[in-house]
Amino acid sequence: MPSLEVQIGSLRLKNPVMAAAGTFGFGQEYREFFDISALGAICAKTVTLRARTGNPPPRLWETPCGLLNSIGLENPGIETFLKEELPKMRKLGTVIVASIWGEEPGDYGALAAAVDKADVEAIELNVSCPNVPGKGFVGAQAGFTADVVRSARAATTKPLWVKLAPEGEVLAAALAAQEAGAQALCIANTFRAMAIDISTGRPVFANVLAGLSGPAIKPLALRWVYELFPRVEVPLIASGGITTWQDAVEFIMAGARAVQVGTGNFVDPLCTLTMVEGLKKFLEERNLECWEVIRGCAHRR
C-alpha cells in the first residue's frame, strides 16, 4: 500500500490534492457530490476584513480551454466566515486552509490575528488576485509580499502559505516570502488576460482585465513550478490548469509537493475525487511507496 501523504511544512495532508481558493466556496456545495474527506485539503474562498460584494456581472467568460473570471473577491468578511462557514467546513473531515486578502500589509496582520484563534490548519495569503480594482495590482512584488508575510507572521503561529501571481517579480517575491516566514508557496494564481465582446466592441469585464485559469494555462504554470523548485527551500503547491491525475503527476515531477484544483471542479464536480483515485493507482502501478522518488525528478540529469 503506497502512501499518498505529503508534508507541507509542519502540516501533513492525506494526499496532495486540494481544492483551490475561490473555486470550492466554503466546501458545502461539493459536499452534495462526494465525501470531501477524500481530499488532502480545501482552501476556503478568500475572505477580507469587511464583506465585499465583488465585481458587477458578467464575471465569467469562456476562452479556448480556459476561463476568465472577474469575481472581485465577493465574500462575507472574516467574521461571518469564522462564525458561520468555518464550523460547517470543519465537519468535512479534511484540512481547512483559510485564505485572506487585504489592501495593506496591516490588513493581513489583522486577518491573521482573527484566524489565529480559529480552527484552521493553515492560512494562505492571497497577494495575487487580479480582480480587485484600483489597487494597482501589478503581479508579484517582492517588497509588498515580504511586508504582508511579516505582518501576518507577527499575528499568528499558524503555518502561512503565500499564493503568488505568475508574473512580475516571481522569483524575488518567492524568496521574499520564504525569508519572511512562509512555510509554503502556492504557484500560481490566475494570469491577467482579457476578452472583448465583438458584438458590442467593449471589453467583456467592467475591470477590463480578468484572471485566466483552466487547462490553457497549464504549460505556463508548470514552467514557474519547475523554475522555482531548485531556487526555494519551502514546499511548492502548484495551481494552474490541473484537471487530471496526469497533470498532477506532471507538476509533482516538476517539484510540486501538492496541487490545487480550481477550474477543474467546474468541468467536473468529481474532478478532485477522480484525481485522488488516479494518483493512488499511479503509485500502485509504478510500485512507488511514496512521492519522494518522483518529486522533482524532471530536474535530475
Partner: protein
Amino acid sequence: MPELKVVRAPVAENREVAPGVFLLRLEGRFVAEPGQFFMLRAWERDPLLARPMSVFDLSPQALAFLYAVRGRGTALLANLRLGDQVKLWGPLGQGWKRVPGRIALVGGGMGLAPLLWTAKQFGSPLDVYLGFRHRPWMVEVFRSLADHVHVRSEVGAPGCTQGLVTEAFSPRGYAACYACGPKPLLLELHRMCQEAEVPLYVSLEERMACGVGACLGCTVWTRSGPKRVCSDGPVFPAAEVFFDALP
C-alpha cells in the same frame, strides 16, 4: 450524505422541433422540481464549461431539455445522436413554488422551456401565455395542461394572433405569475404585476461556471445584496431582482 450525482445518460431523442430549437431526451431516472436545471456537457475539454439547461419535461424513464442553438456548446448538443452519452449533474437551483389559486405562466420564446414541467407539476387552475417572434412552436403540449393557452406572434403567423405576449396578458385575477424569457419581457411583466400588486416570479440566466454556488460567477444584484443565480435562483421574486429597474 452526497445527494447529487454526476451521471452519463444516453440520448434517446434529439430532434429539431422548430428552426434552431431542439428537444433532447436523455434516458435515465431523474428527479427535479419545476424551474430547476441541470449542467450538461457532451464534449471533452473544449468548450471548457458545462451548459445550464432547464428541465423541460420529466418521466420515470427520461429527462427532456428544450434548447436553442446559440453558440458552440449548443451546436455540439445539436449534433448528438441516438445513444451518444451526455454528462450531466443536477437538479440544481431553486425552482418556482406554487402559490394557491389561479396562476399564470408566461414564456417568451425559449423562455417556455422551464414552463412545461412546471405546468405539469402545478396543475389547474393555471393559464399559459406564450409569445414568439415568428411562428409558434411547442404550443400543443401545453393545451391539455392549462385552462387557457394564449399565443402571440410578434410578426404574425398563420392561425396565430399577431402581437406581443404582454398584450394578451393581464395580471389581474391571478394569485401569482411565473415568467421566463428575454429581459425586456420580464421587466414589462414586472411593471404590470407591480401595478396590479400580483407577485411575479422570474427565472434568470447568467453565465455559469460551477452551476452549484461555489464560484460566485453568476451573481445578480438583488434588493438583499448579491445572489447566485445558480443556487439562490434561477427563480427570484421579480421585486427582489428588478428593484433598480423601475422609474
